[in-house]
């Protein structure tokens, strides 16, 4: 009686180090690359070839710019809250502008923001703007005694109602 193995797959030979070796080499290469970047960066920093500001500038996306002009006769309190924040409570900060102060705020992350305007710290009695802002955009908010003027400076609106906070379509 003859036994044949026709029609059956040939016995598999065990490959040594196939996937694991590639992964290992890739990791090693990545570590070496990282070490080179870190070492190079450290050398450049200590030798004065690059300054912290240059590192900061390289690392930052194009900022979102918010101009705040207080043309009221009293102090304006502004609270900026990042609604897409993963933190709980969401990231926010306050700015208080004395009468006729002009401030610029740079926001590093694009996304949804809520900007509250009040006559007291943390208040929103003068209005609020829910913005969906993209990187590189610039918005101007000018507080007048009876209204807050809004301008999307990077792309001015063609509709008059968009220039007043209470009727602005991109501040819903």
């Amino acid at each position: 009686m003859t036994v044949t193995n026709a029609g059956q797959p040939p016995p598999q030979t065990k490959k040594r180090g196939g996937c694991g070796r590639t992964l290992g080499c890739g990791c090693l290469l990545l570590i070496l690359l990282l070490a080179l970047v870190v070492g190079g960066g450290y050398w450049a920093y200590t030798s004065g070839a690059i300054s912290p500001w240059q590192v900061y500038k390289l690392s930052q996306p194009k900022p979102l710019t918010i101009n705040l002009d207080n043309l009221r006769d009293d102090t304006l309190y502004v609270t900026v809250t990042f609604l897409d924040s993963e933190d709980d409570p969401p990231f926010s900060y306050d700015r208080d502008l004395a009468a006729f102060d002009v401030r610029v705020t740079y926001l590093q992350k694009a996304g949804r923001y809520r900007i509250d305007f009040g006559t007291q710290s943390g208040g929103a009695d003068l209005g609020a703007c829910n913005l969906s802002a993209a990187a590189g955009e610039r918005y101007q908010f000018i507080a007048l005694p009876d209204k807050i003027v809004v301008n999307r400076a990077s792309q001015p609106s063609q509709v008059g109602a968009d220039y007043v906070l209470s009727t602005c379509s991109f501040c819903r």
Binding site: L30, P52, P63, V104, Q140, I142, V149, P156, S157, D162
Partner: protein
């Protein structure tokens, strides 16, 4: 099994390192710190090389921070309040009149509003006369991400400003 665990640990370590680097870089906020060491309230104009100008009012003994954004050079002046107030009050009067009925504005009026808003920044930038009065100084970010400015009373009782 040991090799795979080692690789996984290495990958995790690298991810944490990269995340840490990102968090470290994003934690920086270049700032111009202005200290008012005088005994009077001052209005300070900070002109930034890449971000226009800003006005801040600082009470005696208080400190204010001006965000630098992408700027690394500044000129700071102690401004005459009256000069700025006249400009600002004139602008707000015109804006209030133009925006009485915003939904009925013509395209021409809208262009006028946009131009008026733009002019606020331009007008602030035009306080060149004050810059020559001796109450101004300029500075750049060096090895730190915070610039320092001090306002004080000079020997003659006049305001003096120094960029460190």
């Amino acid at each position: 099994m040991t090799r795979k665990a080692l690789l996984a640990a290495l990958l995790l370590g690298m991810c944490l390192l990269l995340a840490g680097c990102e968090a470290f870089l994003f934690s920086f906020e270049p700032l111009l710190s202005i200290q008012n060491s005088s005994d009077v309230s001052v209005r300070v104009q900070a002109s930034l090389n890449k971000g226009g100008s800003q006005f801040v009012t600082i009470a005696p003994g208080e400190r204010a921070g001006v965000e630098l954004g992408q700027s690394d050079h500044w000129t700071v002046v102690v401004i005459h309040d009256q000069q700025w107030l006249e400009t600002a009050k004139g602008t707000r009067k015109v804006l209030a009149e133009l925006l009485t009925q915003p939904d009925k504005m013509t395209p021409e009026q809208i262009r006028d509003v946009v131009q008026r808003i733009k002019n606020i920044q331009d007008q602030i930038d035009k306080f060149d006369a004050v810059k020559g009065s001796g109450t101004a100084c300029s500075g750049s970010l060096g090895n730190e991400l915070v610039g320092h400015v001090t306002v004080s009373k000079g020997s003659g009782g006049q305001l003096a400003i120094a960029c460190n």
